[in-house]
C-alpha cells in the first residue's frame, strides 16, 4: 500500500514537467503556422527545444539530483562540441548564393 502510494507520488511529482513538455510541443506547432521569417522561427523553435530537453535531462533523467561534478563533466563538453559544429554555416550560405533560384 505504501509502495503504491509512493509510486503514484513520483508520477504526481513529475506531472508539472510532463505538462510543460506537452505545452512546449503545442506552442511549437502553433508558432510554426505563424508567418515569421525562417531565421526567427528557427531561433524560437530551437530555444523551446532546448528548454524542453533541459527539463527532461534535469528532472526525468534526474541530473539535477546527481553530484554537480557529473553535470560539469557531461554538459559543458557536449555544448562545446555542438557549438563547434556551427562552423559549417558560412559554407552552406555560400552554396545557396552560388545556385540560381528555380523559376
Amino acid at each position: 500500500m505504501a509502495d503504491s502510494r509512493a509510486s503514484k507520488n513520483v508520477i504526481v511529482k513529475y506531472l508539472p514537467v510532463y505538462f510543460v513538455l506537452l505545452g512546449i510541443a503545442v506552442v511549437e506547432v502553433f508558432l510554426a503556422y505563424q508567418h515569421f521569417s525562417t531565421r526567427f522561427l528557427i531561433a524560437i523553435l530551437l530555444a523551446l527545444a532546448i528548454c524542453g530537453s533541459s527539463l527532461a535531462v534535469m528532472y526525468f533523467m534526474h541530473l539535477a539530483e546527481e553530484r554537480r561534478s557529473l553535470f560539469l563533466t557531461l554538459i559543458p563538453a557536449t555544448i562545446f562540441v555542438l557549438l563547434m559544429m556551427n562552423m559549417i554555416w558560412s559554407d552552406s550560405f555560400r552554396l545557396l548564393h552560388m545556385k540560381p533560384f528555380p523559376h
Binding site: 513529475y14 522561427l41 559554407d91
Partner: protein, 208 residues
Amino acid sequence: MSNTEVAVHVHGGMIEGSPYAIPSRKLTMWLFIISDAVTFGALLFGYGYLRTASSDWPTPFKFNPSILNVMIMTVALITSSLTMLGAVDSAKLGNKPKANRFLWSTILLGVIFAGLHIREWFGLIDEGVRLFQNPWGSPLFGATFFCITGLHLLHVTAGVVAIAVVSRGFSRGRLTPGHVETTGLYWHFVDLVWMFVVPLVYLLNISR
C-alpha cells in the same frame, strides 16, 4: 588516504570509488548518451547545412495527416517517459508487479510511436519520396529525412526491446532496480532527441 580516493578493498587489490557517486553502469549509460547526442547533433547540423544550401527544399508536411500524426507521436513518447519514471520508482521500492506494469505501458507507448512513425513513412513513400528523389525539389530531402527519423526509430525499437528484456529479467530476479534505472535513462534520451527532430525536421517544412 581519503575516502574518495579509495573506497573498497577486494582481495588485497584496491578499487577506486566513483568520483560521481553513481554505479559504473549508470556512468557508462551517461557517456553513451553524450556520444549519441553528438551523433544526432552532427546529423541535424548536416541536415541544416543541406537545407540552407538548397533553394528548393521541399515543404511537404500538411497539418493532416503529418503534423497531427507527429503530435500524437509526441504525446505517446512524453507519456512513455512518465510511465518509465513510475517503473524506476516502483522497482526501487521493490514492487515488481507494479514496475512491470509501468514497463509494459512504456513498451506499448513505444510500439504506438513506432507504428505511427512507420505509417508516416509509408505515406511519404506513397507520395513518391525516395532516398535520392522526390516530386517536389531538392533530391536530398528524402536522404536527410529517412536518415534522421530512421536513426531515431532504430533507437525507439532498440529501447522497446531493451525494456522488454529488462522487464523479464527484473521480474525473474536476474536484474536489479539499477538496470531498470539505466534503461530508463536511455528511454528519456530517446524522448529528448525527438524534441529536436520535431521542430527542425517537421515544423520547419510544413506545407502552407
